[in-house]
Symmetry: C2
């Protein structure tokens, strides 16, 4: 494996439908749902984790590409949002897809770079962002089952 | 907006290339990188957040579909992993894509359901998972810039 490669993995321990604990290396992430969805509202829900992944990956790319283009970023904030209809996931009749229809990201940057340079910055950030690639383009998802009988 | 719909959003405050803080409603998520990547290793990195989102969403679906099929789940753990090469994101010459090549999820379930029922369970979980849909299928990603000049 070259030094640009990473094999990433997480492990999830289910508590209930709404709640689970995800372990990524030494880190623990509480996933939960609001009480209206049967949870205790003690953590973000899964689709919010997806938005956090997208925002965090854009942050890395914004700084990386700024170095390439010799742009100085004085400050950076990023907003990511999207609209999702859970009808399909719940098994209700719908013509909507299961996940987000689209994602919108706004890079709020304080910089004295000119408009053309900023457009090149935006273009490189968008086209080379790892999580953005997995959102924008198809990625094979293989779900398998390993079942054991109750003791 | 119907009661199956959600408009989700996160806000990110950048600290450095490696580190940022993401806010989702009342929750704060620390994103970081190992020291080898310029961070302080105080949180998962963005691609690990993506895996956590995928795992968490599968957890919800596993329990939801189990109810539909009247399967009793005694315990559930989920492993999600994937391989990514950051060469494209770093601007190095490569024929690899920017993000994960594929994602693998293993649903480790303790149940007395029979094999045919478990295959139907797996199929519904995979096909109706919101985050899984955004991974497996293209989702428009719109990245825009809002720039201000330094004071």
């Amino acid at each position: 494996m070259s030094d640009t490669e990473l094999h990433a993995r997480v492990h999830l321990q289910s508590e209930t439908m709404a709640r689970c604990l995800v372990t990524a290396r030494q880190f623990k992430l509480q996933v939960d749902e609001p009480q209206s969805q049967g949870g205790r509202d003690e953590g973000p829900n899964p689709v919010e984790y997806l938005l956090a992944a997208q925002a965090g990956c854009l942050n890395y790319m914004c700084h990386w590409v700024a170095r390439e283009l010799k742009i100085t970023i004085r400050s950076l904030q990023i907003d990511v949002d999207g609209h999702v209809d859970f009808a399909r996931c719940m098994g209700l009749p719908t013509d909507k897809r299961a996940g987000f229809e689209s994602l919108n990201a706004v890079l709020r940057v304080e910089t004295d770079a000119d408009d053309d340079t900023l457009e090149e910055w935006r273009r490189r950030v968008e086209s080379r962002c790892p999580v953005g690639d997995n959102v924008a383009n198809p990625t094979p998802l293989n779900v398998s089952v390993s079942a054991t009988q109750p003791a």
